[in-house]
Symmetry: C2
Subunit: 156 residues, 2 copies
């Protein structure tokens, strides 16, 4: 778990979240949690991963405050795993991942699951990044600005 992602002392704004999530399995667990799964067994059946691995991933997600356990739900003497606020914050990331998948991993005519509006069943729009003035901006329209200097153009 002590994966040294960067040679810098503190990880950057992208590496730090990645480190918290842990690995792909964890992200799939989070996705299942968004789909309403809550129990150890449900995750295991849905993802088909070994129990020790699931156990370790859940523990890691708990440790990073992405999931939390709630004592019960219905009679069962077991606990359930539910998303925290922080965990729910991963929703846009999962949508981005799904939309990228739709764009490049399915044939135009290939059927795939669709993320739809619960209200009316229509597919959601594409995620779009907008500037303050409302323009849709792509990667080439943006740059990262280093924290300490507010007038310097520090794009690497």
């Amino acid at each position: 778990m002590a994966k040294r992602v960067s040679h810098r002392d503190s990880m950057c704004g992208v590496a730090r979240p990645l480190d918290a999530i842990g690995d792909w399995w964890s992200l799939l667990i989070v996705r299942d949690a968004f789909d309403g799964l809550r129990r150890f067994g449900e995750f295991q059946k849905s993802l088909g991963l070994a129990k020790n691995i699931l156990s370790a991933r859940l523990r890691n997600l708990l440790a990073h405050g992405i999931l939390e356990t709630v004592p019960a739900a219905d009679g069962s003497p077991y606990q359930e795993y539910v998303l925290t606020e922080k965990g729910r914050g991963l929703f846009p990331l999962l949508v981005a991942l799904r939309q990228w998948g739709e764009d490049f991993f399915f044939e135009p005519d290939e059927a795939h699951v669709l993320l739809v509006d619960r209200k009316n069943g229509l597919p959601v729009r594409r995620l779009e990044l907008r500037a303050q003035d409302g323009r849709v901006v792509g990667a080439e329209d943006t740059m990262v600005r280093l924290p300490q200097s507010s007038h310097e153009n520090g794009s690497a």
Copy 2:
């Protein structure tokens, strides 16, 4: 590399992209590519990872069409690694990751890099998912619809 992500025969719309990316390192490579890095040595210095690992990750990203090599750039007899269209499609995902990081991994007063509009240096807006009618929708407002049935509510 033959990571069996799911027990299902074909992976779902989230797992398939994850499998293509490979791992966290690969995503950091892609991020560096967005920042303009192109050379093996640049990636290695920026990320501080072992050369064999970098080599394997680059090979995987090439194999999945996320990066491509271009023969030269300036004199050097070497090749450079640049994002393909597919690779550039990862931009929203990286932004989502970065914004999640900003929300939950930095103290309110802690300095961190900012993604800004190149035009005017102002920070970009938050990513927002919108429904067809323009409403901003969260996870609880959406559901996944299975491909074959257009009237069934098949949320897992």
